[in-house]
Amino acid sequence: MSMLLSIQNLGKSFGGLHVLQDVNFEVPAGGIFGLIGPNGAGKTTVFNLVTGLLQPSAGSVHYQGRDLAGLAPHRITRLGIARTFQNIRIFKEMSLLENVMVGMHEHLTYGPLDILLNRRACREAEQKALERAHELLTWVRLDHKAHMEADNLSYGDQRKLEFARALATEPKLLLLDEPVAGMNPAEKEELMEEICNIRDRGYGIFLIEHDMRFVMGLCDRIAVLNFGKIIAEGTPDEIRAHPEVIEAYLGSEEEGETA
């Protein structure tokens, strides 16, 4: 399995505060990779570094062999990395369809002249985009609400919308930031299924989560972050038995189970 994402000696500091230090791991293409760790361990910072919202203080992030240093977020998205957020960031005043179609922005290649003259290139591209948006919404079983304003969706549905929208950018790697935060067990089951479906369609998935049961059941490989450092990496079974991981989670274990 080839490596999609390669994190090498990654470090991030804010002033004197070292949020991440010497982080090393690799995310394969295909399959589901999990990054777990207690609150404040620095997980979201890793995502921010990968997606270009922050620049590394040390080390590097390589995607498909290419160094992402200095690239603007929209460039990184265009390379094939998409992301969802811990606190959902859908476009509330747009419909579901429009939300998903925003994700297709870079793939619609018609130009200003095409727009102004309403040329065939533009019309056909928009039509295709519309169909694709319906398709993606169908994948997450939201198509019946396609014209609803996104703000009116339930919490669980908003998360699913975020998936669909991320998928619209045609990524190879999908970064999911705490995808089941704030959900009840039934919703979590459903989302787990969604994520498996997405994986089965060939997308690489890299997720951050708190909920141990969720992560163990879903991921092929897991890395554990604690106080900005990687303390373990391996299969779920290896991680489950790892002494440092158990220690890190002691006390947070209850939190992890019921999260």
């Binding site: 960031r89 476009f91 925003v102 922005h105 519309l130």
Partner: protein, 289 residues
């Protein structure tokens, strides 16, 4: 047909003004559509007006070229200040553009070539109704098509959540630059057109109050659609005529309108959501033909 002639000779300036104000309202609508509150459009209008007037007065440039210059020069100025200014956001951007507007006004006020506080007089009345109608129609059409394309969606995404927009692959900075510059172009052309039917221009017409008037037009009408700004500009252009009896207090109405709209009609007068809400629950069209 005589009444038509009389009507026209009395009201043609007003009708032209309606057209020009519609253009201005659309220019600020454009910047607002991606979340930028730019108070510089009155200044861009002024730049366009003065460039146009000076070309006509000193060089007798043919009118089409004059209008082209009125579009181009503000665009260049916009491009120059855009790169640093657009790094700011929200209120900082508003204040920076406000400061910029003041600089422009003061410079115009103090240069000899622009006639100083007395402004420029005797500008030939080259503007015809069809010029305004044509340019307005072209602008409306262009903005309408833009709104329905991926560009329109991108702008709305930027307005709602800039960071999320970036992560959708949208080059936010490029879009902001585009919107800011195009807004300057539209305002500049409006200025050029305006100068050539009002006969006379002065720095007083392109200052802070004017920037606020333009903003009020868009806020009053509503920024959700293209109709909103035009509705707002029409009302605010006609209102002073209708309120003549208030004399000096007329301006107070503008202020009052701003307050009341912000408090009670946050989406402006023309809000399709509100209309639909009268008939059925919240839905929205896909925005695509």
């Amino acid at each position: 047909m005589e009444w038509l002639d009389t009507f026209w000779s009395t009201y043609n300036t007003l009708i032209y003004t309606l057209g020009v104000h519609a253009l201005l309202a659309l220019s600020i609508w454009l910047t607002l559509s991606c979340g930028l509150l730019s108070m510089a459009n009155a200044a861009f209008m002024g730049i366009g007006a003065y460039v146009a007037a000076l070309l006509t007065l000193h060089f007798e440039t043919p009118f089409p070229l004059v209008l082209a210059a009125a579009a181009l020069v503000p665009a260049i100025v916009a491009l120059i200040i855009a790169i640093p200014v657009l790094r700011l956001s929200g209120v900082y951007l508003a204040m920076a553009t406000l400061a910029f507007g003041e600089v422009v006004r003061i410079v115009i006020l103090n240069l000899d070539i622009t006639g100083g506080p007395e402004g420029l007089n005797g500008i030939p009345q080259s503007t015809q109704g069809w010029h305004i109608a044509l340019i307005l129609a072209a602008t409306i059409y262009g903005l309408f098509r833009m709104k329905r394309s991926r560009v329109g969606r991108a702008l709305e995404a930027i307005r709602e959540d800039e960071v999320a927009a970036r992560l959708m692959g949208i080059d936010v900075d490029r879009h902001k630059l585009f919107v800011f510059t195009l807004g300057a172009v539209i305002a500049g052309i409006a200025g050029g057109l305006n100068a050539h039917f009002t006969f006379f221009i002065s720095p007083r017409e392109y200052g802070f109050e004017n920037a606020v008037d333009i903003l009020t037009m868009a806020v009053l009408g509503g920024t959700g659609t293209l109709i909103g700004p035009m509705l707002g500009s029409s009302i605010l252009t006609l209102l002073p005529e209708l309120l003549r009896f208030l004399n000096d207090y007329r301006g107070a109405v503008n202020g009052l309108i701003l307050i009341l709209v912000v408090l009670f009609l946050p989406k402006g007068l023309w809000d399709p959501q509100r209309f639909k809400g009268w008939f059925r629950p919240q839905t929205r069209e896909g925005g695509v033909q």
